[in-house]
């Protein structure tokens, strides 16, 4: 599934140096678990996002291994330290090999 996948990320625009900011991410994805069956009783093949990473200026903040028990439209909330102005890079890895990326710049206030 490479269509209709839309990452959404909420990061404050500015922060004080060294401040902890809360990051919220959500990506629209059906996260087919591989457990459901269609009308004919055939198992619908698994199709999920299996990994999510967040890095700031190349340094890792969080790396999440995702399994089918994570809900449709996987949502994550966590906190990151902002030592300097820069850019958060978010990456999602799909089972089918697709990689979805987005980034958000943050300024030091």
């Amino acid at each position: 599934m490479a269509s209709g996948v839309k990452p959404r990320v909420k990061v404050p625009k500015t922060a004080a140096a060294g401040e902890a900011v809360t990051i919220k991410t959500l990506i629209s994805h059906q996260m087919e678990s591989g457990q459901r069956k269609d009308k004919e009783g055939n198992v619908i093949p698994r199709s999920i996002i299996n990994r999510f990473t967040c890095a700031f200026n190349g340094q890792m903040v969080a790396d999440v291994t995702i399994e089918p028990a994570v809900s449709t439209n996987p949502y994550f909330q966590f906190e990151a330290t902002v030592p300097e102005a820069g850019e958060f890079a978010f990456t999602w890895y799909d089972d089918d090999g697709s990689v979805y990326e987005t980034s958000k710049a943050i300024k030091i206030a």
């Binding site: 459901r36 890095a55 890792m60 903040v61 028990a69 994570v70 809900s71 449709t72 994550f76």
Partner: protein
């Protein structure tokens, strides 16, 4: 009462299946914990798992985990067809070793969080969640 060779074999097989079956349900969750911790002891404090007591819809149950100083937190749903939920690895810029997400639960069960702490020890927390509508298409 005399047993023939064939009957004895059948009985033995039946008994073997009976002993294995009840463990099979939780075995994979135990396996996952053993794989993650390498068989180390689990402390009861050091990790917090927040989950609702009653979840009306098992398709999206909000949970959050927190373990100050942890390098990784693994979340398991012991009653799901596959127990794995997610593993959070925290990097140097993580301000707190905490995260929140939404998970699927197949039915009423225990959700378990295992944290790998900075000193190499492990901690465990669990929460029982009652699920009204299961979330695995069943």
């Amino acid at each position: 009462m005399e047993f023939s060779r064939r009957e004895t074999l059948a009985l033995g097989l039946g008994a073997a299946v009976m002993t294995v079956l009840p463990f099979r349900v939780n075995a994979s969750a135990e396996d996952r914990i053993a794989e993650f911790t390498g068989g180390a002891d689990l402390a009861d404090t050091g990790v917090e798992l927040t989950a609702p007591e009653i979840a009306e819809n098992g398709n999206t149950v909000p949970i959050s985990v927190s373990a100050p100083g942890a390098t990784a937190i693994m979340v398991l749903a012991t009653g799901n067809p596959t127990p794995g939920v997610a593993t959070f690895n925290f990097g140097p810029l993580a301000a707190s070793q905490a995260a929140a997400t939404r998970i699927r639960l197949a039915g009423t069960q225990d959700v378990v969080a295992i944290a790998k702490l900075a000193d190499g020890s492990f901690a465990k927390a669990s929460a029982a969640v009652k699920v009204t509508i299961g979330g695995c298409g069943g």
